[in-house]
Symmetry: C2
């Protein structure tokens, strides 16, 4: 019978794109019931009453001046002194990463990332075919000696300081100083991602790296966690030459962000929405984090360890040595639990992404070199209503009991009062006999 | 004294980005007074009353299903039978072109474009470093023999059929059939731009090329002229494999278009806004076109020729042979007249972009080979209120009188009742003595 002719060639980079079926980031910590519908309605009414022409017309490629001023004032809280011309309003933080890839990355440019790092960043940078260099991390962030080794010749260092996705951890003061000094002495662009920066859960984190005298860098942030996720607006701020290039790239690719959305956002910001809204949002996230930590403590067998998130929406959980998270989660994926296998967050560039030595791990011998995160997973605590934390942890424990060797078989949950409640992942406390 | 250290390297493609100071496209034909503020307000109220959760939450990378259904129904008017899965909602038509460049163009891929072509398309494709191949055009669109010569080995043919920017002309029935047959027999992707497709001014144009059996292609459109420009939503529709790749590229680069904007648009579409709105919009554009044509007829000296736009927002005007439009317009640019020099619309790949032979043109000898459009300019009639057409044409005539050789010196405007009123640009009717 007849066959369709083969389709014509596409760009080589098309083969680097991923199907990306799964929703990678339930970044908004809360149910849709908590969305600020009233505040949006009020802002929209005001905008259309007072600013209708501007809101329906074209605007600047860099975004509204008022939003850029707001970002400057916001970042002043970290000690950054920026002018509005040093800010570009992006179509979400993910879009800022794409623009940065476009302007900074050639094929095979060395791109330094934490291990593990944000899945969305790996996806955004992937089409630019940079050479990913994974930085060994501990609970305080990238290890300074790993950064120092990798910096010579590197094009971009993509670092999450407040807070890392997937771990939920921030870089503390002393470490931030060390890393900033290394970067300031290098010829590498710093891209500092603070998408979840305002979602601290206990105390405000230390200022990031850009605020410590790193000249050649930018800071990336998002309005999604501050307002609502369907808005798709974020920012990138920092070195004027780089911001100017990013504006050119944005103009070439999509002219500008939507005007109406920007004016509604600006009205909400001016009306003080974020200041009123953030405490409740943080409280909701804190409640969810605590419920998940408690549920994990009750249900996880020995040999499982997890981070205690200081902010953001996610935690990182290490399974017993040798357990493949993707295999383990295959059934859970169908149940809609907010869990993703660890290797999705891995630059796959050798080394260990599990905060420690993995020499005993069966994946360490993987010829692909991309394996150490296989026995880890991300749990998005912010996506779990408090009442859902317990069933989620119980289901995860059930899956582990089904897969783990006998040596890891958990005691009954009710008796695990002394199970490890880690503030960060420990080197493997158990290994297969 | 101290000097700043040089900034670190950026990507090679950063050097391909343009400062792009000027607003290139006053695409929305009308003053801000004519914006549909009431309709937007009503749609917003309904969306927030009925669909608030969806409107503030994340949505699909491909855009709202309802919008994709609307595009299918809309394109059925050209005889296209598409499923919603064959449509991607882009962040404006410019953004669709960027995604297409990303997925289809490797460095030096042969990319066929009309001469002249849309400035925004040249800017969108430029960072992908394709090899631009300019197609000779006449008043009916690309010359079939030029397309036939260029098709072997070409990666993408970017063609504007309804209506071309900058000329305002559509490809008529017989030519469209010829071009479609050539493309259907090729291994080249067709990207058919119909951004202004609904803004016909006299009669609806013939269906485009994709509707004539070209399998490997997509059609690009925009909601900006249908609703309002600050919305930044458009579409790309056609071959399923290409649409799937575009969705992957969009997901990597910015996840999705803004939800709130999409829901407001969908509400306006469902409420019948476009059907109610388009006749008045066309009438306003027609009035403006006619005022500009009349003013040109009154003021332009012999040796100047222009297109009679059948749709869209622009016309193409050829100056006397040897007059450099950029030099001529330097003072006009400061006066805010909606005029841009012709070479901005030129792929710069040799050949003639002035609808005819340019052997007599002093730019034909330009060693850059990019010159023939130097003696042409784009006039955006839709951006001129009818009362502004006369002063604009008078000012242009004044500039010409200041620059043109004596042989082209115009008769007095009041007496030029028999000046050439061309429906398309003629081969140079005059040349310097």
């Amino acid at each position: 019978m007849f066959q369709s002719p083969p389709i014509p060639p596409m760009a080589q980079r098309a083969a680097l794109l991923e199907a990306g079926e799964g929703r990678e980031s339930p970044a908004w910590p809360g149910e849709a019931e908590a969305f600020p519908v009233e505040a949006v309605s009020r802002a929209m009414r005001r905008v259309l009453a007072r600013r209708a022409r501007e809101a329906l017309q074209y605007g600047p490629a860099e975004g509204l001046e008022g939003l850029r001023e707001w970002v400057c004032a916001h970042l002043a809280g970290q000690g950054l002194r920026l002018r509005p011309s040093q800010v570009l309003i992006s179509s979400g933080s993910r879009h800022a990463l794409d623009l940065l890839g476009r302007v900074l990355l050639d094929p095979a440019s060395p791109l330094l990332v934490q291990r593990p790092t944000r899945l969305g960043a790996l996806r955004a940078f992937r089409p630019y075919a940079a050479r990913l260099v994974g930085l060994r991390c501990d609970e305080q962030g990238p290890a300074p000696e790993a950064l120092a080794d990798a910096l010579p010749g590197a094009r971009m260092a993509y670092l999450q300081t407040r807070f890392a996705d997937p771990t939920g951890l921030a870089v503390p003061e002393a470490r931030a100083r060390e890393l900033a000094d290394l970067l300031a002495g290098s010829r590498c662009w710093l891209v500092e991602d603070q998408t979840y920066g305002e979602l601290w859960l206990d105390t405000p984190p230390a200022p990031g790296l850009l605020a410590r005298g790193v000249e050649h860098g930018v800071l990336v942030g998002s309005f999604s966690p501050l307002v609502f996720p369907g808005l798709r607006l974020g920012w990138v701020a920092g070195h004027p030459s780089l911001i100017a290039r990013l504006a050119q790239a944005r103009r070439a690719a999509e002219l500008q962000p939507g005007s109406l959305s920007q004016w509604v956002l600006l009205e909400m910001l001016r009306e003080g929405f974020v200041e009123r809204h953030l405490p409740a949002l943080r409280e909701r996230c804190r409640e969810r984090r605590d419920a998940v930590l408690e549920a994990l403590r009750r249900h996880m067998p020995e040999g499982v360890a997890w981070t205690r998130p200081q902010g953001g929406a996610h935690l990182w959980l290490r399974l017993p040595d040798g357990v493949d998270a993707a295999e383990l989660l295959a059934p859970a994926g169908r149940e809609g639990l907010p869990l993703l296998p660890g290797r999705a967050f891995d630059a796959g560039a050798g080394g260990c992404a599990s905060f420690g030595e993995c020499s005993q791990c069966r994946f360490a011998e993987d010829p692909q070199g991309a394996a150490p995160t296989r026995h880890a997973l991300r749990l998005s605590f912010a996506a779990l209503a408090p009442r859902a934390a317990e069933p989620c942890a119980a289901r995860l424990a059930q899956l582990l009991r089904g897969q783990a060797p006998a040596a890891w078989r958990p005691r009954e949950p009710a008796t695990v009062r002394d199970a490890p409640r880690l503030s960060l992942v420990r080197p493997h406390p158990m290994r297969p006999a």
